[in-house]
């Protein structure tokens, strides 16, 4: 049987530990470097599979930047009505 004194002591110890833990200071921000982007890494558009998204219409080879650029260039011509009507 645990005595009342021991219970009180254990409770006090627990409160002391919790209080000390609350006083601790942990890093809330990443190490700041002036003038450098430190956010998340962004995937480049051509690194996606052409069929990865439901709404993809253009065709390119995954990882091939030039094929993605060619797809966009050809799509860009849809904004050129001279190319569309002539």
């Amino acid at each position: 049987m645990i005595s009342a004194a021991k219970l009180v002591f254990a409770g006090a110890a627990l409160i002391a530990v919790a209080a000390l833990f609350g006083c601790g200071e942990t890093d809330q921000v990443i190490v700041y470097e002036q003038g450098k982007y430190q956010g998340k890494h962004d995937t480049r558009p051509w690194e996606n599979d052409a069929g990865a998204s439901l709404y993809t219409t253009s065709k390119w080879t995954k990882g091939d930047k030039s094929s993605w650029e060619a797809a966009l260039r050809s799509r860009n011509q849809s904004q050129n009505e001279y190319a569309r009507v002539e």
Binding site: E33, G35, K36, G39, K40, D42, N48, S53, S78, E81
Partner: protein, 208 residues
């Protein structure tokens, strides 16, 4: 590929606000935030001109320069994006931007300023491409779908052109040549042309 750019043909823009609507619909932009808007000069006066304005994805972006937490980055295609998880909503970018591109949601009591939101050139942000998280924070990632910005693609008169800077410059040049006017609105000559009256040189020894 050159940098991704927008160009708006003031001779063609009819102030229909189709680009604004297309942007809102594509990215599900919240109420009070306008990533794109149409500006009209001499509204109601014969000869009025309108242009559609959003983030111009500057080559030397002032928003990037002033951001105290450096949450901006530029993609290889020249699109200026930012990480909303890092943004502290200070509003410095709003004051630095000459186009009024950065927007701040005004939700909450006392006009609290939320995280900055701006045109992403329909290129999403630093989350997994075409994921729910990316859409919720930044909107649609059309570039990762092989498409171009919705505003430019939806423009009824094709006044707003968006895409590879070289390609859209060629489209605009061809258009201006065929119709025989409008070339003076944009271009090297307008930006850096020789003035009609040469500026008076300051006297030697004077403070600059």
């Amino acid at each position: 590929m050159a940098r991704m750019k927008f160009i708006c043909d003031a001779e063609r823009c009819i102030e229909c606000n189709g680009c604004v609507t297309a942007c809102k619909q594509e990215n599900e932009v919240p109420w009070g935030v306008n990533r794109r808007r149409v500006v009209t000069i001499n509204d109601g006066v014969p000869g009025e001109k309108s242009i559609s304005v959003a983030c111009m994805h500057c080559s030397d972006a002032p928003c990037m320069a002033v951001c105290p937490v450096d949450c901006f980055y530029k993609t290889e295609e020249g699109v200026v994006l930012h990480d909303k998880d890092m943004c502290i909503g200070c509003g410095y970018c709003f004051y630095a931007c000459p186009f009024g591109a950065p927007q701040f949601p005004q939700a909450g009591a006392f006009g609290m300023r939320g995280k900055m939101d701006k045109c992403t050139f329909c290129a999403g942000g630093p989350e997994q491409d075409n994921s729910k998280e990316e859409f919720a924070k930044y909107g649609s990632n059309r570039l990762a779908q092989g498409k171009l910005p919705a505003c430019a693609e939806m423009c009824s008169t094709k006044a707003l052109l968006g895409g590879d800077g070289d390609v859209i410059a060629d489209i605009f040049r061809n258009r201006a040549l065929k119709r025989g006017k409008g070339a003076e609105v944009w271009g090297w000559g307008t930006a850096y042309g020789k003035p009609d009256k040469p500026q008076q040189q300051p006297p030697k020894g004077a403070k600059s």
